[in-house]
Amino acid sequence: MGHSSSAHGENYINCEKGLWSWLTTVDHKRIGLMYMITVMFFFFVGGVMALLLRLELFAPNTVQGVGQVLKNGDVYNQVLTYHGAIMVFMVIVPGIPAILGNFFLPIHLGAKDVAFPKINLASWYCFMFGAALAIATFFTHKIDTGWTFYTPYSIRTGTSTVLMVLGAFVMGMSSVLTGLNFIVTVHKLRAPGMTMHRMPLFVWALYSTAILQMLATPVLAITLLLLAAEKLFGVGIFDPALGGDPVLFQHFFWFYSHPAVYIMILPAMGVVSELIAAFSRKVIFGYTAIAYSSLGIAAVSFFVWGHHMFVSGQSATAGIIFSFITMLVGVPTAIKMFNWVATIYKGSVSFDSPMLFALGFLFLFAIGGVTGIMLAVLPIDVHFHDTYFVVAHFHYVMVGGTLMALMGGFYYWFPKMFGKMFSETLARLSFVFIFIGFNVTFFPQFILGAMGMPRRYFDYIPNYEALNKISTVGSWLILTGFLIGLYAIVQGIRKGEKAPMNPWGAKTLEWQTSSPPPHFNFDVEPVVTAGPYEYR
């Protein structure tokens, strides 16, 4: 791997060959691709579950058997649990950091790799092992607790709670390891001249996320272990029949899972910052505000968990305090939205497919954001809590936000990752189906929630039928969009034109090395002299 390696056409993909070279690689780029393949697989499984749920809800079970797709309520509950657990723990949480972050964080910093390449590989194995444990429940007694594992239901159910939470525990370890790696990499491996304030905002977002991963995930781990101990050994912690407190579980769980919401969305915000700047060819508006608002959101996100529990029986005073703090966390999020729109102002905007996804993100995240504020208002939440309004809200944030950003980022960096171009027409078509399909699926769910339809319902009263039908049809549009996208990706990898070094004319460091990059990212260590968005 000398100076002229990339001149000979050698890159990180072809420098070593064979499955073994992948399974033992410590190259962050290869690990990123391995995460990509696994996450795509789990996304497929979780997606099939979602389609099944929507099919079941196409019609109420007015007459036994009519409109019923899944055998009974138990099967429905299992499918919804797998959908939630897979999408959260195996797709949205690892998605952007483990795929795009692994691949581009070191390159963005001008580094050869992450700080601990072997730990990076270990995190992938950890993830696979945890996922295997979780999937193993499918062959034992399945799991029907919902992804939240609320006690005492999770203790009393006959399904495999322990195996599932052990899986989540091990996957949490993987998340901690990735976070650790990113924090140290950011502090220790920046290229000469790459000051903290010259880092791309994607790196800032991953850095804030990594702090959350390090600090919040252990709380989940302890909680899940306590739950397993209670179930296995009858230690009374959460089950009132054993002298425990079921609401305590909710406090512990959301103490992790609210910060986890930001583990899921902050990296997406980072991707969107890159996309908006690159496709507007303009310096990002309010770099410092965006960078530090990520850290601000990360810090405040630890103190808002109680807004998931307004009707749980926690005290009214606690509810009021949590509602107040939640309002404060809304402000930095709003600031980011305004900054992105201001970045477009007086730019040179292209409508390449990654930008379409970024604009789609802004559109959907705006709706996800304002409905989030509604849910933070106490009496409004009392009505909306555990209804489809909440389901719609978090899908606008998690899918409309995170997944749109992941797709946009993926198309943006595709030429760099694979050295090939994808079909722009197919990518745009895929976007159109996903974007329209998403709104058709989830917007009616806001209305269903307002009407009072609770979530996690196998069946519903006839008033809710029309909107459920529309929602189900939307899910087929989303499916079509993703199938087109998959085709675009596979076709691009197999037959795409060779990608130039910098197809979009962007300024961050990854576009100053060959496509795909050489094994150690740069032939010559870059020296940084300016910020990441110097479009002048």
Binding site: N77, P240, P246, S350, V377, L378, I380
Partner: protein, 318 residues
Amino acid sequence: MMWFNFAKAQSFMPTQGTEIAKQVDNLYGFLLITSFIACVLVIGGMIYFVLKYKRKSDNDKTAYISHNTALEFLWSFIPLVIFLAVFAWGWYIYHGMRTMPKDALEINVLGKQWAWEIEYKNGFKAVNEVVVPVNTDVKLLLTSQDVIHSFFVPSFRIKQDAVPGRYTALWFRAEKLGEFHVFCAEYCGTSHSGMIGKLRVVTREEFDKYMEEGQEEGQLPIAKRGEKLFALKACASCHSVDSPAVKVGPSLFQVFGHEVVLEDGSKVTADENYIRESILQPNAKVVKGFPHGVMPTFQGQINENELNALVEYVKSLK
């Protein structure tokens, strides 16, 4: 206000069965309108800018605007003010929701997989049907015998989890006659979606008649049932019930609703949850001046119905 009505028409909220529901809908209407305006500004601004500044050639010169302090202050400050305003408005309504009226008609509701068991003061029991008189304050005392459930009446905009091992409460004052859905809103397993009850609001006369007809031969009011149980479990040998005189344990006379001083000097109000805890885990909060470990625990020895009866009996010792 016309714009609220406009928002309401768009909001698809169910019938307004209570005054609180109207308050909630007004706030929701305000939120819908401000949210709509915010989205139009952000999304509309985005669409306007991308069209106006569409790339013309690969060599377009773009402006170099790194920040604008005044603008940034403004768009941080304005959302903050709006957020705090809706927070305060929400707080006001929530305060009303969570402040239990005095002298409300109390009804016990027990959630179980997968039905609601209703018990009125006179001992009359029903399943999945709550009947209440119109224009009367009603307080539901909720608990569960298995997993967490949540009592949700969309038309009243109220919801409260029924948590095993403790009492929670909600109140409402129905203003409309008719039948309303009661859903279970907290996932509870196989027939979660089938755990549907109805809440029937009737006139005072109909309610009295309903109670009378429901009264079966030999059926005791809850407090009476508690009294019997109190004797049966020999509670009376340690607790006096008709005077403040101390036997072995503290007197229960007029204790409900009053403050109790504990051994560490802290104070608690003797509410339903305190009585419940003192029966199941007597050593958790011992009254000042009484020794630890004298009273046996009744955890696992009495069921939810019996607990309700005992609590109701203690409440009646006025």
